[in-house]
Symmetry: C2
Subunit: 312 residues, 2 copies
């Protein structure tokens, strides 16, 4: 079983979808707790315009106040060159750039055509070359909620354009939970064949309940890096009421049960997951915090002892 | 991709875990709707003592009033010879017998040792021989919430004892959602090797989010029969707040997306799933009814049209 590297995205991707502002103190405390868990990367925040994403308007403060733990990479989302400057000033370990493989989704989400996004991100890559590694997150790789199917060749084409620019990693995102296992296997195989030297990360949502099945499918064809969001926080504006990102604790629990080395202290992750509803003010979709691990046993009811006695 | 046969257990396994009595009319109407969906089997009810399971005290009335559709097997749970008599009188197409592979779970759930359960069920098998096919559901095959691990050999031993008695089918149940994909593959392979002529059905719960991953794992080693519960109804007294059975609509949606022929009209299943919260009086865990199918597209926001115009 291959070693799995797991990234936590709750304070960026998860919180970004929350309605009520989460205080800086709570963000810092959560990230400090997550830093003790053994994650490969923590996506701390986003250096976007505070007007565009008010939830993450405290990006500098959060980056300045977290206690960094050696071995964990603190990555940040960066939309443009101004964001990259801010991220470098804040000593981010990695910049995570983002664009969609679907034209309509890119127009809806980033308000520009994909070619314009690519040019902007290419400029960022050139700008930071040699200072910090760059990851590019490609949205809607398994389908666009407005366009529908996104051809695998289209995904590979954008991946190739960024790989040619020397990015360290590519994150292949199922932005609205449209992936199914057969599609995941097919795309992951193609990615692994073509981008041997590139860190490949898979980012799944559980919108239609297939999140962990897709993790399984990807791991079975050799993918060893995954994003997850504590508690399954996140979500999708096109599926109100549905789950968001895969829950980190649920995914890690499955991977560990299967025998994968993850480097994760699941007890600490679970403790953080159990504290999450209080931070966000509502129940979260993750199941493990409610159900407990498969190794958490329960006492037999008193009737069993009485029966055993009667039978002895 | 192999043809998948899917069984619906919501009106028995699902409803049995509901607190408030569901009127006979509502049960009959739901089963009649499910009969139009293309399920292989519908587990209608249980011929248990009305005192033990008040929810299913109307077993005869439900069986008498449903409109049977040719091609669908109407199966019922039967705990003992008295239940078998009632089931035969009600013209059940199949008797589903049940015991646990874990001694503690059997004592807790059926209030007798496994050997006593086996003797009782063997008597039922002899009693109905030649009249209707018999299926045996083995509980806790992937772990017992009180004992922990259930050895694979123990599961195979009980399966073998029933197979030797000439039962048509065996349902291998992950009663409290303790299975993980590696374990599923291992046990399913062993079962398929040993019980070639027996209908093998896998019954998963989604207690820890792994339900559809386990379906995937089982399907990948050739299992072609699954139980599911509409809306993911069901549940586990040892994990309050956690999900219950795998959701039929979520599982079927995944299997169809992967290219499996299921014989199921998913639109009808979804319509039934969307009506379910009103029947049970609360939200249900199934995701697809909220999120829609992966092929259900959404209109792009108005900003996209304006952007396209400006760019033209």
């Amino acid at each position: 079983m291959q070693r799995i590297h797991f990234n936590e995205v709750v304070t960026r991707d998860g919180f970004q979808n929350e309605a009520a502002f989460i205080p800086t103190d709570a963000k810092v405390a959560l990230i400090d707790a997550l830093s003790q868990c053994g994650y490969a990367k923590i996506e701390v925040t986003s250096f976007t315009s505070p007007k565009a994403i008010p939830m993450l308007r405290d990006a500098e403060a959060v980056m300045g106040r977290i206690q960094r733990v050696p071995g964990v990479e603190y990555t940040v989302l960066v939309p443009n060159q101004r964001g990259a400057e801010r991220a470098l000033e804040a000593r981010a370990d990695e910049l995570n750039l983002v664009m969609s493989t679907s034209e309509t989704h890119n127009l809806a989400n980033l308000r520009m055509p994909r070619e314009q996004s690519f040019a902007g991100l290419a400029a960022v890559i050139d700008q930071v070359a040699g200072s910090v590694p760059v990851n590019v997150s490609l949205s809607t790789c398994f389908g666009c909620p407005m366009e529908g199917e996104v051809a695998q060749d289209e995904v590979l084409r954008w991946a190739d354009r960024f790989a040619s620019r020397g990015v360290r990693g590519l994150t292949v995102c199922d932005t609205t939970g449209m992936a199914h296992p057969v599609q995941v296997e097919r795309l992951c195989r193609a990615l692994r064949e073509r981008f041997d030297g590139v860190q490949l990360t898979l980012h799944f949502h559980n919108t239609r309940g297939m999140g962990l099945a897709n993790v399984l499918a990807a791991a079975r064809v050799g993918i060893d890096r995954f994003d997850g969001s504590l508690g399954g926080l996140g979500g999708c504006p096109y599926a109100p009421g549905a789950s968001g990102n895969i829950s980190s604790e649920d995914a890690l629990h499955m991977l560990q049960a299967m025998g994968h080395e993850t480097g994760i202290d699941l007890d600490r992750v679970l403790a953080a997951a159990r504290a999450l509803p209080q931070i966000v003010g509502h129940d979260v979709p993750g199941q493990l915090a409610k159900a407990g691990r498969i190794t958490d046993l329960h006492p037999a009811p008193a009737t069993v002892a009485r029966l055993r006695e009667a039978l002895a």
